[in-house]
Symmetry: C2
Subunit: 343 residues, 2 copies
DNA sequence: AACTTAATGACAGCGCTGGTCATTTTGTAA
DNA sequence: TTACAAAATGACCAGCGCTGTCATTAAGTT
């Protein structure tokens, strides 16, 4: 019924110590032995007892995921990716929903790590953008990987997974430009999120490259919410010279914008093109479905976890400190169309 | 830095075994001793080491949550509630996203439980409605609590938390009736989910009570999705005698219905009232915001976990096998209005 | 005082790792 | 081939923080 390290050792014809060595990637084990042990483990469906390992070892075999994100889809996807990576490497995942704005948040994170003896932490916005968290974690010497918005790997911070919002936004904007739009407005997300800034920068860069000046009235501050989309779009569509296309900083905002346009009997996409960002289920729950940029959250999460394991695991040679960069890809659906010919 | 059972024992002036007894509600400990130990634990901020407990004990101190639900909001809320209960009782939560329709699902669940040595499982739809899962779990003697749709506690199944969809639907329908509606249509969710059936039954009961016959054309089968809402409502609004109100089986369907109505330039709520169910963020991301029934998922989850702990924990006297019943409450927002006077 | 019952403690051991040495196997140069 | 260093493995023990078992002591009861 329950398989222990002893069973594996017996089956492989080695000592339990050697099995332990194999499991922990310790040096000085012959390849042939490694194979033998691995095979025995497979055949017996051996799974090391995490509790015993945690207890015996100074190392830890679980990582944490702290979240505070109103976007449930995002959290679920991240979780899934982390879980997949954990299963693969025999780690456990500890999830910890909390409030990023609580005053004691730094202490809370430290307590969590210390009490649960975590090997490391995966940080997503807003935590990944809070320097005080990164500092505290470094201070107590705990590994962590941050998922942040950015395009160029920086040599000084090796523990990041980058999502290249800039380039993705650039591409989306190009899509609109290619459809003939030149009057394009931008609905921002929360200022605190660097993703919003990056996307805006990509947007501006694309326009500039075509020699189009950005109309300041077309840049509407806001937040990552449906309401914000409604408000922003309403404001834009009241302008004397309306935009012919709207770039919303995420799908939720886009859905709000879509809604606002409909209220004013503006046909989408004939009279107005709208694009979102993220490819959340949201973008499929509107009509017409939204053109957006697909952000593979689950895979991003997985890669963040892998990076963390690489740091964490002692006997891992693959220390090429690469920083994965993900570029969300353009996904053209029905909310965008060529600009209406002036009639 | 790290507080162990020894520190508590020393502080309280007892042996570690006695501390252990207090933690586990074992009998034969003087009240005075219990108090002493509890105080010491508090003062030292003691948290038992789950790994050590798991290792030493035949009992287990973690529970599992299996999910396969496209509704991320639901999952996140459930998770939060379970986590809260776990923290309170020193348990750990193991989450396991999976595919309910996979052929090997029963074995997968069994493997999960056995490998991770789970004390028990919290089952939500669709798992809570799969007899083969309940059977398998009983066979291997693992506790579980199911969250299911129902109104009357049944003595033979003590391990359920009930959500009284019937009564909630009854109340919602009454709300519409009180607004003067009599031509009310119903957009069903997935047939496989008993919640849909229960809500429909509550709906019908309310109509019957007022002596209103249910128009078969007004009962539209469908699924728990936006698209289904669009389709169903479109169908309804093409009818010669349109309904004046629509009861959607959940918020997502309601959002779809809302959308469809808008497409046809039907004013909500002036010309058509729409209600949803669940009070998911969805219901606030429409305009007007939806009248709905608030389903306190997080609290439901918490109570399910508590029930599980009660079963699991040996030395717990509070064995009154109560089955909590939750009745989602009517939440009136702006998508419902008195029926338009025939003009 | 004799005896029952309640309350507490001593100690082994859960499955594994980390360390220390001893032993065996392998590779390499003389 | 022998000699010898280096690599690979095993034997053994302690101990992680807790629980289970059983022995022991304190408190009641007649």
């Amino acid at each position: 019924m329950k398989v222990t390290i002893h069973d594996v050792a017996a089956k492989a014809g080695v000592s339990i110590k050697t099995v332990s060595r194999v499991m922990n990637n310790e040096p000085s084990v012959k390849q042939a032995t490694i194979d033998k042990v691995n095979q025995a483990m497979q055949e017996l469906h051996y799974q090391p007892n995490a509790a015993a390992r945690n207890l015996a070892s100074t190392k830890s075999y679980s990582i944490g995921y702290i979240y505070d994100n109103p976007n449930a889809y995002y959290v679920i996807d991240m979780q899934r990716g982390l879980l997949d990576a954990c299963r693969k490497h025999g780690y456990e995942l500890l999830i910890h929903p909390t409030n990023a704005k609580s005053p004691g948040i730094v202490q809370e994170v430290i307590d969590l790590v210390q009490h649960s003896r975590l090997a490391g932490l995966v940080l997503t916005p807003p935590f990944s953008e809070m320097p005080e968290i990164a500092e505290a974690l470094s201070r107590i010497n705990v590994d962590f990987v941050r998922i942040i918005s950015g395009s160029t790997p920086s040599p000084k911070q090796t523990n990041c997974v980058l999502v290249d919002d800039f380039t993705a936004a650039f591409k989306i904007t190009n899509h609109l430009l290619e459809l003939g739009h030149s009057q394009i407005a931008f609905l921002c997300g929360d200022e605190e999120h660097s993703s919003s800034g990056e996307r805006l920068a990509g947007f501006k860069a694309a326009l500039t490259k075509r020699g189009i000046e950005t109309n300041p009235k077309f840049i509407v501050p806001g937040s990552y919410s449906f309401e914000s989309g409604v408000k922003g779009a309403t404001q834009l569509l009241a302008l004397a010279n309306k935009p012919t296309a709207i770039f919303a900083c995420n799908d939720e905002i886009a859905a709000g914008a879509l809604f606002s346009a409909r209220l004013q009997h503006i046909e989408i996409p004939q009279q107005l093109s709208i694009v979102g960002f993220e490819n959340s289920p949201f973008s499929r729950q509107t009509w017409p479905p939204l053109t957006t940029a697909h952000q593979p959250n689950s895979i991003i999460a997985q890669s963040a976890a892998e990076l963390l394991f690489k740091h964490t695991r002692p006997g891992c040679q693959n220390q090429t400190d690469d920083q994965p960069v993900f570029i969300p890809e353009l996904l053209v659906r029905e909310s965008t169309a060529p600009v209406e010919s002036e009639s």
